[in-house]
Subunit: 206 residues, 2 copies
């Protein structure tokens, strides 16, 4: 069985950079946005459209109740075309993630991969950081056209976390970021990520 | 500054064995029950007596409110000789933990060392495991004179965790086992601890 590392991460924690560098260091596959490209290929939807569903629009349609059982979902939602669409995106995403795990050793970022791949015995990592550290990281990395001040950035980060949590909980019936659902939890507050990766990589190679 | 690794752990998770083996593997100091021996030396109390205060009797005197501010504690408690005694045990313990951290690289198990040593920039590890894994580990390791069945063992474990949590929260104003208070969280459910240590030790040596 291939060696699979799944990485869940709080927004702005540096989890994506950590995962990318870890995959480089280990010389194994790395899948993040590539998954969206693959979904687009396997469906008739554009990458932009899929992204908007996964990262925002989709969550708005989800019931507040945690749990993906249809018992929680009223008829309106089940019949809602947008709801059907997020279900088919999730289905395509699950198939693609499983086929990646079949193909090669890899790091997979987000997208409930820890849950989808539970039969593949992945090493389930969750990366987090203090909110101050995340605000400071995001302010340093923000694009020129982003006008958030620190207060707005903090709100933006917490909102994105809320969406991620809701998405994860909806499909997995598990609480996002709860230690019970991961093998390793890493606090990257104010950490030098390349240095952390150099330190931690040997652990994954034995 | 010495390299300090503090290990908080859920009861039965294997955190103590993990810490002992990690210290051996790294060739650095290991302090666990040794701290109680040192407290006994520096006070007029017996090891047994100190242990009973730290691991049970002490918690019973603590107010339910989290926070060590005296505002939460009524006069009865402040004047209570037993209360004074747990305070002086904690004081002695803090001094001993700081002097160990001054002396040598080391692993320190429990005893709020992550909080007491915050100025020493320790690597703060928390070890946990599923309740089923912990029950199974404790049943396999139980002494001949312990008659717990599985159900009783589960209750015993959860009670001990509750005491540990209360003790930690009382002195630190932080929630025990919350990821924000640690650098690394390790899930040892059903894990082969010697193997985990061999895999993870290189990380601590870079």
């Amino acid at each position: 069985m291939n060696r699979i590392i799944t990485i869940g991460r709080q927004f702005g924690s540096g989890g994506r950079e950590f995962g990318r560098r870890l995959a480089e260091e280990l010389g194994i596959g790395y899948y993040d946005k590539e998954i969206i490209t693959e979904i687009a290929k396997s469906t008739s939807m554009s990458e932009e459209y899929i992204k908007s569903f996964i990262e925002g629009k989709g969550q708005k349609l989800m019931p507040i109740t945690i749990g993906h059982s249809f018992a929680h979902i009223d008829n309106f939602q089940v019949d809602n075309p947008a709801y059907k669409q997020i279900q088919s995106i999730y289905q395509a995403q699950s198939e693609i993630i499983c086929s990646l795990a079949e193909k090669t050793d890899c790091v997979i970022i987000g997208r409930c991969a820890d849950f989808i791949l539970k039969d593949y015995d992945p090493l389930r990592v969750f990366v987090y950081a203090s909110i101050d550290s995340r605000v400071s990281r995001c302010m340093a990395k923000k694009r020129e056209n982003e006008n958030f001040n620190e207060k707005e950035m903090r709100k933006h980060i917490l909102n994105l976390d809320k969406d991620r949590g809701k998405y994860y909980e909806f499909y997995t019936d598990q609480k996002w970021g709860d230690k019970e659902n991961y093998d390793l939890m890493l606090n990257l507050s104010y950490k030098d990520i390349p240095r952390v990766v150099k330190r931690i990589a040997p652990w994954f190679t034995v």
